[in-house]
Structure formats: C-alpha cells, structure tokens
Symmetry: C2
Subunit: 374 residues, 2 copies
Amino acid sequence: MPFFNVLKSCDNTSARTGLLETSHSKIDTPCFMPIGTYATVKTLATDEIKDMNYNLILSNTYHLYLRPGTELLEKFKGLHGFMDWDGSILTDSGGFQIYSLSDFRKIDTNGVEFKSHLDGSKHYFTPEKIVDIQRSIGSDIMMVLDVCPDANADIIEHQNAVNITSQWAKRCINHLKNNGPKYNYEQFISPIIQGGTNEELRKQSAEQLLELDADMYAIGGLAVGEPKDQMLSTVELLNTIMPENKPRYLMGVGTPEDLINCISNGIDMFDCVMPTRNGRNGQLFTRFGKVNIRNAKYREDMSLIDTNNQYNLSQKYTKAYLHHLFKTHEILGCRIATQHNLSFYNNLLKEARDAINNGAYNNWSKKFIADYNS
Amino acid sequence: MPFFNVLKSCDNTSARTGLLETSHSKIDTPCFMPIGTYATVKTLATDEIKDMNYNLILSNTYHLYLRPGTELLEKFKGLHGFMDWDGSILTDSGGFQIYSLSDFRKIDTNGVEFKSHLDGSKHYFTPEKIVDIQRSIGSDIMMVLDVCPDANADIIEHQNAVNITSQWAKRCINHLKNNGPKYNYEQFISPIIQGGTNEELRKQSAEQLLELDADMYAIGGLAVGEPKDQMLSTVELLNTIMPENKPRYLMGVGTPEDLINCISNGIDMFDCVMPTRNGRNGQLFTRFGKVNIRNAKYREDMSLIDTNNQYNLSQKYTKAYLHHLFKTHEILGCRIATQHNLSFYNNLLKEARDAINNGAYNNWSKKFIADYNS
C-alpha cells in the first residue's frame, strides 16, 4: 500500500489529484487540514469534523508537548485516543511556534533552547527529541525540526537556516528509522524546505533535502509576511524541483485564492488558521467573497447565512441571528462561523479535485476566483 | 385543550406529574427549563437542546429587549423564528434582572425606571410595556412584571413589593386580555408570588394573586440569598395555598437536591443557571455529586466523563481530556460540560416523573439524595 499516488494531472497547469493513505484514513488530495492546536479543532467535537468530511487534521507538537505533555498522551496510546479522533493526524515540528511564540530561543547546531510562552520555563529541543515527541503523539505524519526565520531576516540568517534545517532533517529521519513508530502503525515524516524568497537558497534547500528521499516534502517559511507575489514565485520555482510522485505540503497557506493558485503549482496539502481563527472573529468565507458578520448591515438581514454552503447550520440560521450571537459574544456564534468556514474550505478543495479529475481545472479556477472577487 | 393537567399525584408527598401544553410543545412536568438568555442556550445549537429532550426553554425579556430588540424579533415573528427553535419558550419579566443587573432603578406605582447594564441608557418599564415586549417575543408563557427585593430587605420593602406586584400582575393580565397574543397562537401569563421569607406576606401575596385566576402561578424572590431552610419552608407554605390544578413554577431554583425537595412540595417547573453557568466553569453534576473537572486529580483520569449520563459526549470523552480542555480554555470544554449538565438535569426530572408515576417517588428521592451526597 503506497503512501501516495497521483491519480490525475491537469493538462494546463501543474494541478493534480492524488490519494494519500495512512493507517488511519485515505485522504483525497489536494486537501486542507483543519488546525487542532491543543487536541481540539477549536469549538468542535471530533464527530463534527468527520461530518464535514475531514479525515486529516493538523496538531501542534510544541503546544501538545507543553500541555497535556507526552507522558499523558502515551497513556492514551497517542493523540488519537486522547481526543477520540480516528482520522489521520499530521503534527508540525514546533519549529515555527518556537520562533513565533517564544520570546527567547537560542539555536546551536545541536538543537534549540527556548522559553515556554506559558510560564517562561526553559526547554531544549533536538531533532531527535522532536521525533520522539511526535512518536509519542502518534502522528501519522510528522514534520522535521526546522529553522524558520522571519520574512525580514537577512541572507546570512536564511543561509544558516537552510544548512541547519538540512542537517536536522537528516537526523530526524535517521532517528525515526532507527527507532520505528511508537505504536502499531506506520508514522511518516516530512522534511521542510526553507530559504525564504531567495531562489538560490530555495534550490539549495530543496536539493539537500531531496537527497534524503523522504516520504513527502513540505515548503516552510512562506506566509510569514513576505509579499504575495514572492510567495507564489517561490512555490512556482519549487514546483519544478520537488518530486512529482510525493505529496507536496505548503505550510500555513492560505486564502481561498492562494489555495487555488498553489494547487495550479502542484501543491497537494494545505493548512491554515484562517477558517477557524477568522471564523471566531466573525469573518465568513463564501463563494462571493468574505463576509464580516459583525458589520451593522447584517443586523436585520433575514437571509440564511449561506445557501451555497453544504453545512447544515449555514442553511439553518440567518445572518441577523449570527450577527446577534457575535454582538452578544455567544459561543454558538464562534461554532457556527468555524463550521461554516471549514465546510467552505472543504468544499473548495472538493470542487478543485472534481475539476482536475474532469479535466476542467483551468476554467473552474478562473471562474472561482472571479466569483470570489466579484 | 387545557393548558395543564395533573396526571398522577404521589401518595406520600405533594409531588405530582402533569402535562403542560402550549401551541409549540407538550411538556411533561415536573420539568426543568434551560436558560437561553440572549436567544441561545449558551454554547448550544437548538438541535442539541432538542436532542436532550428539552422542549421548553427560558429566555430573558430584559436582555432580549436590549439586544436584539423587539423590532427585529417582530420581523422574525418572534424569538422562535429568530433563534430557530420550535419548542416552547417561557420568558421572565425582566423584574429580577432590573434589580440584579442595573445599578440604578426607581420604582413608582406606574412602573420602574432603570439604566441598561450595557450602556447606561435609561429605560422605563410599565406592566403593560413588559407584556407588549413579551407579546413581540412571542413567549408561549410570559411572566408579569414584579418587584423582587433582595433577601436582606426589611419588612416594609417586602410589603411594598407584594402590593405593587399584585397591582402590576392585574394590569399585565388585563393588558394581555385586551390585546390578545401578538401572533397566531396562544400566549399564557403567570403572576409571581413575592413576600420574601415572611409567612404573612407570602400568604397575602398568594391570596391577592389567586383572585386573578391566572393560568399558572410562580414563586419569585427565593434563591436570592436567604437560608436554605427558609426557602424550603416558604415553598412548603405556598404548597398549601397555591391551586392544585395549575402549574406551579419556582423561579431560579436550584441544586439537584433543591429540585427533589421542591417537587415533594408540589412544584412543577424550575429554571436555574447552575447547569449551564457552572458547566462553563468546569463543574459537572453527576449522580454521585459534583465534580470539578479542573481539579488536578482528573489530569490523568482515563475514565469516561460519566457513564451514568445518557448524553453521548459524556460517554465518549475521558475526564483527562475534559480536564485538558478546561486547562487550555478550549470552547469544546464548555460545550461538553454544558451538555453534560443539562442532560443530567433532564434525566433527574425524568427519573422523578417516572418515580411519581410508578408510586415510588418517596423511596426514589431518598435514594437519589443519599447517592448524590455520598
């Protein structure tokens, strides 16, 4: 049983559909992964995630390491048991969180020292430790520890990040090879291509990591503040370098338009906080663009939230009611908006796959973007 | 079709079962009403309330008047349409909220002036206006405007409260009679017996209100800080005065033990914030007493939340997981605890009704309280 198969490629673009298979689920690609930072996709029960046809979620190694900790997760034979989720789980490595959340970190070639954003306690992550944490989590797909500079870092910092990330990727993969999965099912691991928006560094990073012949490849260090065109040109570049027969995961991206543009450039997997976080702030994604439901113009809008959305609550409650829930800070509002957005994202990806499979991706994507911006 | 029928009376106590019928639902009594202050039972969608077999909820006139306001509710032909709830709705009159939330109120015989707790704006409620607001809300059961002194008020204040409450009750009932229901279904109205814990005043209040021959009768002004035994003796007293053939509603009560003791004294209807509010703070009601799931001893407790509880999430997730959700301030924790508690309350009432119908209430109630305190 292969981990990944490309099923159908688009004639006009690099878009392709595929099937990703872990011990827990089969995932149609291109796919979007809802984010479940602390062992829950915020506001939702696992049944509800399943009901929206998601069977792969992302969780955060850094956060789970701090709370509830690996010891407890091991008692549950991993995160699946702890949160009662029988789909697949991908965990990021914590690299990004260490750089974005911790107000102190010190990188040496062996690993990274950082302070917890919760209590300031000091911790030290090595590539091997990160793999062990993800072994304990029982991630179906784990990510290597990487160094993720911010968009404004200079070339020296990016060059260092590329070098260390490559060394650490090798150590992570070897450590998993030597120790095997923690429980009775396979655990895959993905290196992360760094290099900012510098072409040479991206090539260098990709080539060094390709030598490791890993299960899949991820693009990190984008959607961290760089201009949108540089993000896209970096993905375009890597599309020509990354192996075609392995899943390609673009970390932390993005808007509906980003997803469509990056699918065109051969990306298979996405994750982003936008549908969940923006939902909790009252921003809804719809076929015809974003809706800020807190806006006064929805106060008396008796139309349903979104009749284009498959999700039942979006076709059950009105905009005026959802507006009221946000104005009164009612939790139900966050729930409805979160589910609405995740349903929208899932539907977007499903339509993209259908279009690719039907040889109609190019037209579909143009129409989708035109509608979305109308 | 009568509004209320007593079905079965207990031989040993004043407990009885009954059937309450509005245009929206048939409600088995004794019953508990979940509180949906701002047009939502906090954290829950209406389907979930239904799934827990609730078909009568309480909402708050004072809050709904401020947000979203009666004008918008009228566009939806009332609260049922606005929040998509096809069960019954009882609304309190706002009397209690004016006294507990507003930092300014001025009572004269015509009505009460108060400041909104939201923005300090001044408003004036008359008995007639309160009925009109509840007509606009479309409440199946409305409450009269009452004066509700706090537990430490002196006898003069209580005497005044009784007198004004009786005058206002008459005006409310007349106003509803003269104007009829707002929409195409019947709206009932209940006076509220006041008088604190003073026997004479309670008798006076009850007798004055009984003259109005209302659809049902409520006991207000309890559970506002008075000693528990005085609360119970007041209910005992009123049990001997209130008509047997009409529903008796004890407002704002209470703990599982309170409910059982008051059912024994002929109470048919209850509401209380405890299952919902305490749930959001991590307190669970179980057959064997309260559980504070935030307590460190649950950190590694792999047992299910409550196998005695009918509600599916209580039998799906573990205590350790729920503990984690509360420690990480995850909304899902509030949802699970809220549903767990409302399911517990519903089940408690169902068991009580079954016991009464089977002539076993006395034994059942003793065992329940013994288990609960064990």
